[in-house]
């Protein structure tokens, strides 16, 4: 079925003669066969969003519809790969066309030539339905890829056998109750704008360990939760996203570079293979899928990129894995939406964004969650969705930030003044929040009794610091009571010695729960000891100047195998130092 172009305006093309095409069908445009998607139909004319540069396209050129919606290929070979916004493999494009991305390149998303060792887990005669595991492929050293019956297929396995297969060769044949035979390959296709089905959704109840102290301790996120990271430029959004991609205790990470810098993706590509997962010891790249639609790549594919990413995430979730999807940045996605909406001459909503911005964002984040997957073994999987937001001028009163904040449960607000003082991660503890603190309390109480109490105490001290600072600005620090000065000192320690975390120093980049717990305990202990000593008449400045203080300042840099002993030792030294002060005070 083919039509003829009548109008070209940037990425928007209008073609007639497409009466039989469906909305959302993928089309091939012009002699270069550029990839596009039908957005609207009027009579037999279709408005098409083209995913590639349309320079050189004019009226009269042919448009061919493929009859299928924009889909991704799901199967072995996804991991460690880097794709553009419509799942074209960038490394293979580079082999085909060189350093720049030429137009109309046709490369299969999953390598058709590579053979994978398929181990059958089911046998002929088994009754299966959508989601049941037929067998497995060791895709990377870290991840066992489960080959599942595609959703919607059910019946009796006619034949199945292990061995080496490419992704498009059938590994099993399933006969349904109407007698139809389905050849099941290791590869499934799924339309990106449709969420993959599951059995049940559950409330999130386990935390996602990010290794970042400000996140895990103050504003934790649950596995299956949603979070937003808004911040002006230079506040470290991307570093936070990279840290989460590196250290989160999930099985799979899908990282979507949506309209951001090319060098950031290069950074991930170079760095991840070298880094080791602190839990499995495997290279981090082994669990990562990258989607890169950088800012200079066509804007329409940027709109598709977050759907491509989350669909891949859902596929791994369906295997029973915990997946984290990191989208950097959803603002660029919204801008792509705005640009296409403008070209379609739709009535604009706030700030030129289309009226459906909020509902599209909500639909995206709603694809996160903890679910019981399809299949009869009632396995559970989760998707944690974390999106960076880049508000113009850092002002979160704009539509994308506001629509996002209405949906997400965790808000890590980045602050430029913290970034200027090189307080990283620059997550502001006064504006950020996590609605999972209560749901996760049980888990923390069970695993680390007392952790939550310390957290609440630290939060209270930081809150109090803010109001005390107002007073200090008016009347100076000396006019504060000793107790209040102590609060300021402890707050300073919390900020500098606990919340600040250097992503570029190996010992500090990742903190286990236990290390966070003990380090926070150390600081709060110092506060308690000082207050006790003050009651006995110890001099405040003397307490602030005890030698072991400097050791607390360096405590976060202690290596994972040594910190427990070191912290115990510091605490002992601290006690001794303070003891001396109170004893000395009594002698004189």
């Amino acid at each position: 079925m083919s039509g003829t172009i009548t109008k070209v305006s940037g990425p928007l093309v209008v073609a007639t003669g497409l009466a039989d095409a469906n909305v959302s069908d993928v089309v091939r445009v012009g002699s270069q066969r550029l990839i596009g998607e039908i957005l609207q139909m009027k009579g037999d004319s279709a408005s098409i969003q083209v995913y590639e540069e349309t320079s050189g396209l004019g009226p009269g050129a042919q448009v061919e519809t493929t009859g299928t919606p924009l889909s991704v290929e799901l199967g072995p070979g996804l991991l460690t790969n880097i794709y553009d916004g419509i799942q074209r493999p960038l490394t293979e494009i580079r082999d085909a066309t060189g350093d720049t991305i030429a137009r109309g390149v046709e490369v299969a998303s999953l390598n058709r030539k590579k053979q994978w060792e398929f181990k059958a887990a089911a046998k002929a005669g088994d009754i299966v339905k959508g989601g049941d595991v037929l067998g497995t492929v060791q895709e990377t050293t870290a991840i066992l890829h489960k080959i599942m019956v595609p959703p919607g297929v059910a019946g009796v396995i006619q034949s199945i056998s292990g061995g080496k297969y490419t992704v498009d060769e059938p590994v099993a044949v399933v006969k349904d109750d109407k007698g139809g035979e389905h050849k099941v390959t290791m590869m499934q296709k799924w339309p990106v704008r449709v969420a993959r089905p599951y059995k049940h959704k559950y409330m999130p109840s386990r935390p996602m360990n990010s290794g970042q102290r400000v996140i895990d301790t103050l504003f934790p996120i649950a596995k299956g939760g949603t979070a937003a990271v808004p911040g002006p430029f230079g506040s470290g959004k991307t570093v936070v996203q990279h840290q989460l991609a590196k250290w989160s205790d999930v099985d799979i990470v899908v990282y979507i570079g949506c309209g951001e810098r090319g060098n950031e993706m290069t950074d991930v590509l170079m760095e991840f293979p070298e880094l080791k997962d602190p839990r499995s010891g495997e290279s981090l790249m082994q669990r990562t899928v990258l989607i890169a639609n950088t800012s200079d790549m066509p804007v329409a594919a940027r709109e598709a990129s977050i759907y491509t990413g989350i669909t891949i995430a859902e596929y791994f979730r369906d295997m029973g894995y915990d997946v984290a999807v990191l989208a950097d940045s959803t603002s660029r996605w919204a801008e792509a939406l705005r640009e296409m909406s403008g070209r379609l001459e739709e009535m604009p909503g706030e700030e030129g964004y289309p009226a459906y911005l909020a509902s599209r964002l909500a639909q995206y984040y709603e694809r996160a969650g903890v679910v019981e997957c399809l299949g009869s073994d009632s396995r559970q999987g989760s998707i944690t969705a974390i999106g960076a937001v880049s508000p113009p001028g850092g002002d979160t009163s704009e539509p994308v930030s506001q629509s996002t904040m209405r949906i997400v449960k965790v808000f890590w607000g980045l602050d430029s003044s913290l970034a200027y003082a090189r307080h990283f991660p620059a997550i502001n503890w006064l504006t950020s929040y996590s609605l999972y603190v209560d749901t996760l309390k049980d888990w923390y109480d069970e695993q680390f009794p007392g952790f939550m109490a310390l957290r609440d105490k630290a939060m209270a001290i930081l809150q109090e610091e803010e109001s005390l600072n107002e007073i200090v600005k008016l009347v100076g620090r000396d006019s504060l009571s000793d107790a209040d000065q102590m609060t300021l000192e402890t707050a300073k320690m919390l900020r500098e010695d606990f919340l600040q975390q250097n992503a570029f120093v190996d010992e500090d980049a990742y903190s286990s729960y236990d290390k966070q717990f003990r380090l926070l305990g150390l600081i709060i202990r110092y506060d308690e000891l000082c207050r006790q000593a003050m009651a006995k008449g110890a001099d405040l400045n003397g307490l602030f100047a005890i030698p072991s203080r400097e050791r607390v300042g360096r405590a976060k840099m202690v290596a994972p195998d040594k910190y427990a002993a070191e912290y115990a030792d510091i605490e002992k030294a601290m006690k001794d130092d303070i003891q001396k002060l109170t004893a000395g005070g009594e002698d004189q």
Partner: protein
């Protein structure tokens, strides 16, 4: 196939409608010929059936609907590139304006370029010594980075950019370099300042200038930086040169973009700038970089003046979201007579972490960088408190920080436009300043490094 039409139905500068066209394609280059033979260039913005919307690159003055002809050339706007471009001056459309002969192009390149494949990029990590402490020490520039200068009207950004162009070198190498300078809507005097500086240092023979001055057509400003980057890509990735691209002033570029967008009656975004300005700017800035297996590189220093000194204005804001950091100039420091007036705290180089340290600069670089930043921030805070409450209200430590902030501005930042400091000098100066502070406050420095590098008098 050349197609010529005399069917211009409407002109609203810089846009034109041509009816009855056939075979015209999007983004195609066209020429308009006036009755007396003068030719001007334009490009296709939209084709709807047999109507083409065409954007003029020059003024519409004198165009006559009945007597003018439009000729569609069948290809997008291109630049003929050759190594002979070095040492020459071109206008914003890529035509020589220095009185010299035309360039014999080795080939023609589409000025829009193609997006660079992220998997073909090489991560920039080679330290460039600019001789400016605030950049080398704190906001390190690396080869292949795009690091803009955010300035305000009346501040000496040109002097800083010229200083960088003059002093920048990669330690221990002697590779061929080139400068591509794009003057976008700036005044003759500002452009001449750069060119004279290149002339004085002899760099002019290695420089390609694309010049669109304030009195040249505004629409041409949209193609000027693209011409410059096309030349830069050719020199870097085909002729193995290390190219430094200076684009000044991006604010003029963005205004030209707004002008065209308004003429097209597009829905405006913030402050009337088009909603696609982020993407548009990105297609310029992202052309900087390095490629795997290629010797050359493009390092970019765009300069922009922030309207009303406002960093949240769309032009600096969107730029900051795309570029790999920014150097911000401060009016306050300028008033204090500090040269160059680099406002250190909001300035940033995102690529510094891979460009500094052992084997690149010195092992203590990252630590001192962080420590100087946080100490200066603390010092400025203390000084603020001091202005409200008087010096007596400060603690001893705060007083030391306040003193540090002053010394830091006077000695570290204020180095003048002619001083070329080596990275070792910059780092040692940093240690000297840090020795003003109590050691217990220096938490970001490693103990071994304090022992090794801290000037001895601090130990007493």
């Amino acid at each position: 196939m050349i197609r010529e039409y005399q069917t211009i139905s409407e002109i609203a500068s810089p846009l034109m409608m041509v009816r009855g066209v056939e075979g015209v394609t999007y983004d195609e280059l066209a020429e308009i010929e006036l009755p007396h033979g003068e030719k001007r260039r334009c490009k296709v913005l939209e084709v709807d059936g047999d109507v083409a919307v065409v954007q003029l690159f020059e003024s519409a003055q004198g165009i006559n609907l009945a007597g003018s002809k439009v000729r569609f050339l069948g290809h997008p706007l291109r630049l003929g590139v050759s190594e002979d471009m070095l040492g020459r001056v071109f206008n914003g459309m890529g035509e020589p304006i220095d009185g010299g002969p035309a360039i014999l192009p080795e080939k023609y390149e589409d000025i829009n370029g193609l997006p660079m494949n992220p998997s073909a990029r090489a991560y920039p990590a080679e330290f460039i010594q600019t001789g400016v402490s605030t950049i080398d020490g704190l906001n390190t520039l690396v080869r292949g980075q795009k690091l803009p200068i955010f300035s305000c009207s009346g501040l000496p950004h040109a002097a800083l950019a010229a200083q960088i162009a003059r002093q920048a070198r990669v330690l221990g190498t002697d590779e061929s370099f080139a400068v591509v300078f794009a003057a976008i809507g700036i005044t003759f005097e500002e452009s001449e300042y750069f060119i004279n500086d290149f002339r004085r240092t002899g760099a002019i023979d290695r420089t390609v200038v694309f010049s669109n001055l304030a009195n040249d057509p505004a629409v041409e400003r949209i193609s000027t930086p693209r011409m410059a980057l096309t030349a830069a890509e050719y020199l870097a990735f085909e002729k193995d040169m290390h190219v430094l691209v200076i684009l000044t002033d991006i604010t003029n570029y963005a205004e030209a973009l707004r002008e065209v967008s308004a003429a097209k009656k597009e829905v405006p975004g913030r402050r009337g700038y088009p909603g696609y300005m982020y993407t548009d700017l990105a297609t310029l800035y992202e052309r900087a970089g390095r490629r795997i297996g290629k010797k050359g590189s493009i390092t970019m220093i765009p300069i922009l003046t922030m309207p009303e000194d406002d960093k949240t204005h769309p032009i600096p804001d969107l730029t900051g979201y795309i570029t790999e950091g920014q150097i911000i100039l401060s009016r306050e420091l300028h008033r204090k007579g500090i040269v160059p007036p680099v406002d250190v705290l909001p300035s940033l180089s995102r690529l510094k972490d891979k460009g500094v340290g052992e084997g690149r600069t010195r092992e203590d670089h990252a630590g001192t960088m962080n420590q100087l930043f946080s100490a200066y921030a603390a010092g400025k805070e203390a000084k603020e408190l001091m202005t409200i409450l008087g010096e007596a209200a400060l603690s001893e430590t705060d007083k030391k920080f306040a003193k540090f902030a002053d010394e830091f501005e006077q000695r570290y930042v204020n180095q003048g436009n002619q001083t070329n400091r080596s990275i070792i000098e910059t780092l040692d100066l940093g240690w000297e300043l840090l020795s003003l502070l109590p050691r217990s406050e220096l938490k970001r420095l490693k103990v071994e490094q304090i022992e090794k590098y801290m000037p001895k008098k601090a130990e007493e």
